[in-house]
């Protein structure tokens, strides 16, 4: 039961706190990182580096567990192929990320910091996701 709600709620909360603490809920910081030819702000690299370091350790522990600690089974992506869809989609995502300095996590977390602006971004993002589903049937 704890795995169903408590663990994801705790994970989301720690994640959101990390984004805010790392400055990622401020689009100016994110855009500062993406502005490599201008006044570059490397903060995002430290956020990403810290997160990846911890997760490298977690991925070493994962194969030693027969099942997750709080129930259910491991349900992890298994695909390996590099498809035009993966690359084209990621390229598009980067363009949107660059325009406003927001990606999904900070956009949602910022709902408590700058509610109206964040809500416009999040609603538009969900609309974009929904469009893909409509056009593809099952995205």
């Amino acid at each position: 039961m704890s795995g169903r709600i408590l663990i994801p709620a705790l994970s989301g909360s720690i994640f959101g706190a990390g984004l805010a603490l790392g400055g990622m809920t401020d689009p100016a910081r994110v855009r500062g990182f993406l502005d490599i030819f201008g006044d570059w702000d490397p903060t995002l690299a430290f956020v990403m580096g810290g997160a990846v370091l911890v997760m490298v350790v977690a991925w070493q522990i994962q194969p030693r567990l027969t099942q997750p600690l709080f129930g259910g089974g491991f349900n992890l992506p298994g695909t390996q192929d590099l498809t035009p869809r993966l690359i084209g989609g990621s390229a598009l995502f980067g363009i949107g990320w660059g325009i406003a300095g927001l990606c999904p996590g900070p956009g949602i977390a910022a709902l408590v910091i700058e509610p109206v602006s964040a809500a416009i971004f999040v609603v538009a993002m969900l609309a974009g996701m929904f469009l893909v589903r409509i056009f593809e049937g099952n995205a």
């Binding site: 169903r4 663990i7 994801p8 709620a9 994970s11 989301g12 720690i14 994640f15 959101g16 990390g18 805010a20 603490l21 401020d26 910081r29 855009r31 993406l34 502005d35 201008g38 006044d39 702000d41 490397p42 956020v47 580096g49 810290g50 997160a51 990846v52 370091l53 911890v54 977690a58 991925w59 522990i61 600690l69 709080f70 129930g71 259910g72 491991f74 590099l82 993966l86 990621s90 995502f93 980067g94 949107g96 660059g98 325009i99 406003a100 927001l102 999904p104 996590g105 949602i108 977390a109 408590v112 910091i113 602006s117 971004f121 538009a124 993002m125 609309a127 996701m129 469009l131 995205a139």
Partner: protein, 149 residues
């Protein structure tokens, strides 16, 4: 602490925030066997994506994001927030939504969870969205498009 040559950077706060994000993602992975990918979880919560993860679990994660940010906001007595105008936010949001579904992930799923697994797909995806992100800001700056206040 400041970084020599980059007076505006916040390396320690960034590293601390990053470690928290990593711990959160590790909790999802080792706790319930899932990737902490925000775009995928948001799509799952809203019913846009189908998966074996219960929607209530995806909602729990998604609602946790602003709750965690609120704790930091209150503890710090405010956070800087420079947002683009509504038109830019809407256009950017739409493109981010389409791109993350087609690309199967965003900064968290590919960047944090996938790269740390040395996933070939995630490394390519992350390099791709970083390059187009850099290019977008460079082109907008070259055109004199001021997006943030």
């Amino acid at each position: 602490m400041t970084l020599p040559g980059f007076p505006d950077a916040a390396p320690l706060a960034g590293l601390a925030g990053g470690v928290l994000i990593g711990l959160a993602a590790a909790l999802m992975l080792l706790g319930i066997g899932r990737i902490a990918g925000v775009s995928g979880l948001a799509a799952r919560a809203t019913g846009i994506a189908d998966s074996s993860l219960p929607r209530i679990s995806a909602w729990a994660f998604v609602i946790g994001l602003p709750v965690g940010a609120l704790v930091v906001l209150l503890a710090r007595g405010g956070l800087p927030a420079n947002f683009a105008s509504p038109v830019y936010l809407a256009v950017a949001g739409l493109i981010v939504g389409i791109g993350t579904r087609l690309g199967s992930g965003c900064t968290s799923g590919h960047g944090v969870c996938g790269m740390s697994r040395f996933s070939q797909r995630s490394i390519v995806a992350t390099l791709t969205f970083m390059v187009t992100g850099f290019a977008t800001v460079a082109v907008m700056n070259a055109k004199g498009l001021e997006v943030l206040p």
